[in-house]
Amino acid sequence: MIVGAILLCLYLLYPTYQDSRNNKEVDAKLVSVKAQIKKSNPSITAAELKERLSSIKDSILVNTPEYKSAREKRMKLGLDLQGGMYLVMEVNTAKLLEKLAKDPDDQFKQILMQAEVDSKDTDENVVTILLRKMKAKNIRMSRYFGSIREDDDAIAKKLEQQESDAVTRAIEIISNRVNQYGVSEPSIQKQGSRRIIVELPGIAREEEAKRLLQGQALLEFKMVKEADFAIPVMNKIDEVLAGLNKIDSATAKNAIAAKTDTTKKDQKLTEEQFAKEHPFFTLARLIDPQGRIADAFVKESDRNRISALLENPEVKKVMPDNIEFLYDAKPEKGNDGINYYRMYMVNKTAELTGGVVVDAQANIDPTTSAPEVTMDMNNEGAREWARITGANIGKRCAVILDGQVYTAPTIQGKIPSGRSQITGSANMEEAKLLEIVLKAGALPAPIEILEQRVVGPSLGQDSISRGFNSAWIGYLIVAIFMIFYYKTAGSFADMGVMLTVLLTMGVLAAFQATLTLPGIAGVVLSMGMAVDANVLIYERIREELKTGKTYKAAVDAGFKISLSAIVDSNIVTLLTGIILYQFGSGPVQGFALTLIIGIVTSLFSQLVLVRLIFDFMITKGYKINVG
């Protein structure tokens, strides 16, 4: 069992080891890339170079399957160890309420301001406080929100819904931008009713990242290019790229061709061949083979390559100025389990921007019982919208938030009133998301940063090495002390400690837990505590030996009688560890987790492993020196 546990731990820790090796490998490769970049562009600044290299490194690590799988299975490092940014944000409800209110007068603004101030010190919702204050002043909520027939509580409930929608919208916007920015392993979570926790590991350009999270999102309506325009353009791009490839490979081949005969294989188009001749369509696979629409599926990992190809000056020449390629906000999973993004060719200039949308509502169409979203525009928008829809019947219009396509419905007819129905959402959830996105222009999600922690990468590296140094120095001291004090038995305890550490790391890796600096401290501390069970047992054996028991009887008694003390004392420590985990945040939780795992694994290794050694030695007739 113990051998099994050790092997399992080694297996679980292998990806972590592999990942760090991969990292080194890629770094080594990058040295030559660096020289190349420097040669081709001598004027590049150090910061730009670093940025280029880090993005190349990221793309290598993410796009090579072996690297990626090791990366996914490795033990995660906390932000304090790898550097990065941690943000706690909250939707500013007061600002949202002010936007939502119909004709807010000074009296309302004053009450709202007070409510906002009050909310800073309590957990209560701004809406709740506002409601109370309005009641105290004998003002009905319906004066500013909702309709006259609704009672205050119903209105408050609706406002709270608006608030939670604003949080969803903010999360959507943030994850959109973070994805575009290319942060690896970002984490964006909702906490409570209106908080968002964002963790961006390894961000070197933190200022820029912070900037990403600010500013209003941009909602746009853009016409999707039709197939009879788009496909010829794509064909041209493909041709140009294939031509470029040929020049490249021709120069390479010429050298070889001089030696080798032209023993060319006249085979059918192999996949490789296809890739060579159609570099663009290999990456962007047209969805409709008949070519009625020009949308294409692109592998998640190929998006960077496509944009690199499109940056090529030769390609730019054949690409019209007024178009661009955009992707769906959410990927679709292919049969092969890979994420594919739908790519659209759209007009670069937007027909309308989101400011004209005054309301959106997701509901079920009563006749077809399919989910749909109703969107209302202001007068100005409605006029434009009528013109646009009238001129483009049968074409598709994409709804785009910060450059990501959410839906691209076909315009069925001229919409004169500004009130449009968008159908085609797969389910109510999707429709609801669309509703929230459509409101981005009318109701920006004002967010405030409540807490922000940034750790530079060098400090993180420093912390890792300090953590590891503490661990092995600490282990050596305790190990020597135990051997010195308990002789042979002490060395068994040391083995137990070793096993404890291995098991702890293995369990952490198995849970995909995050290792933080306090977490390493937790491991170091549990090494100190791990010998405790053995100390209890050995002391007891010594005592029993003193009362004149035989060696075997003393060992038996030592293990048996100490058990209740060991169990009780460890359960108490375990309980405080669990409380710490429950109430701690971030790094403290990391500490609590390693502490808890450390206690359990140390009990296992001290009680099982050491007992096993003792039993084995005794049946063989050895006497173990307990000092």
Binding site: E206, E207, Q214, A217, A350, S470, M529, I571, V588, G627
Partner: protein, 379 residues
């Protein structure tokens, strides 16, 4: 080797001496806390903190002087890590009103230096941000980028193509960084760590910490009453209170006394408190377990005598485990770096008092309680 193999000390008989020692330390600590107050980190107070790493060694008193000139009132300046690192901290949440004009004029100087003749208009201004509007969106974009390069958190008001406005957020740490970049041009720095905690989060964290410690004590009270006796639980919890109070007292007494040791109550220090509660309890339970065993074996021997024997016989174990954990804590203090030092130091004090209390205080209180209530403890 054997330490304390045959000791026989009358711990229980001398309990009033130990009560006195602990009482005096706690009293001193409490007076100290009342007079000087505890120094909380920004986790609990809210505020901004930045750690900077300069390229060359830096004179901290010179930095202090320069920082005083910035006009943010009290900004703490400490060393961080070696001689090239400094830690700056301000409790302020926002830039004070009297400094605001200076910040604004600095922004405007940057704009007029880089974009002479740019038409600008302030459309909104608060303690946290200023919003400008420019003649056209191209100007707004390039001015925003320039301000950003200077270290201000400038961004466009919206991504709309017709957007002409930019919003400049004003943060304490941005203002400090901007000033120091200017002053230390020949010795550039990188930001190692930057924390900003709002007052609301600070209050919540404080409350969570208190709840966590209280909950830990209650859980222990229940568990010990269940496994042992209620009187044992009382003794255990009093011992824990004692440990936390003494550690807190030592923290407050030694604050600012030892150079290079940052004794502030932060989140990790609270984590250390909870850990020491667990460890101290661990020791106490081992002693209690032995008392329980002897009480079952020697029913006729008085409680005090049984307790003395239990403590004497577990004494060696208590010290050995304490020592091995202490080695680790000392290693963490020495090698663990700046971030873990306060945490490790809290544990250091906590382990000493924890070991002390499980030997001298916990059982003594159980005995005291049993004597006062005249109850006989049997298992």
């Amino acid at each position: 080797m054997r330490l304390f193999a045959n000791i026989n000390i009358d711990f229980m008989g001398k309990r009033s001496i130990f009560f006195l020692i602990s009482g005096v330390i706690i009293l001193l600590g409490m007076i100290n806390i009342l007079v000087r107050g505890l120094s909380f980190g920004i986790d609990f107070k809210g505020g901004s903190e930045i750690a900077l790493q300069f390229q060359k060694p830096i004179d901290i008193s010179f930095v202090r002087q320069e920082v005083d000139k910035i006009g943010l009132g009290e900004v703490e300046v400490k060393t961080f890590g070696g001689s090239t690192g400094i830690l700056l901290r301000s409790e302020l949440q926002e830039i004070p009103a009297n400094i605001l004009p200076r910040v604004k004029s600095r922004i405007e100087t940057i704009i007029s230096e880089n974009f002479p003749g740019a038409q600008k208009q302030v459309i909104a201004s608060s303690k946290n941000s200023i919003t400008y509007e420019f003649a056209d969106s191209a100007a707004a974009t390039s001015i925003s980028n320039t301000l950003f390069k200077y270290g201000f958190q400038a961004s466009k008001v919206s991504e709309e193509p017709s957007n002409k406005g930019i919003e400049v957020r004003l943060g304490i740490s941005d203002w400090i960084k901007d000033n120091l970049t200017e002053k230390f041009k020949d010795n550039p720095f990188v930001v190692e760590k930057e924390d900003k905690v709002g007052p609301k989060v600070g209050n919540e964290l404080k409350r969570d910490a208190v709840v966590a410690i209280a909950l830990a004590l209650i859980v222990i009270l229940i568990y010990i009453s269940f496994r042992f006796k209620f009187s044992f639980a009382i003794g255990a919890v009093i011992a824990l209170f004692h440990d936390v109070l003494i550690t807190l007292s030592v923290f407050s007494i030694l604050y600012g006394v030892i150079p290079g040791l940052n004794l502030e109550v932060t989140l990790t220090v609270v984590a250390a408190f909870l850990t020491l509660i667990g460890y101290s309890m661990n020791d106490t339970v081992v002693v209690f377990d032995r008392v329980r065993e002897y009480l079952k074996l020697h029913k006729t021997i008085p409680l005090q005598e049984n307790m003395n024997r239990a403590i004497n016989n577990t004494f060696s174990r208590t010290i050995i485990t304490g020592l091995s954990t202490m080695f680790m804590i000392i290693v963490l203090i020495i090698f663990g770096g700046e971030i873990l030092r306060g945490f490790a130091f809290a544990l250091f004090i906590g382990m000493i008092t924890g070991t002390y209390s499980s030997i001298f205080v916990a059982s003594a209180f159980v005995l005291e309680y049993a004597n006062r209530t005249k109850s006989k403890i049997t298992f």
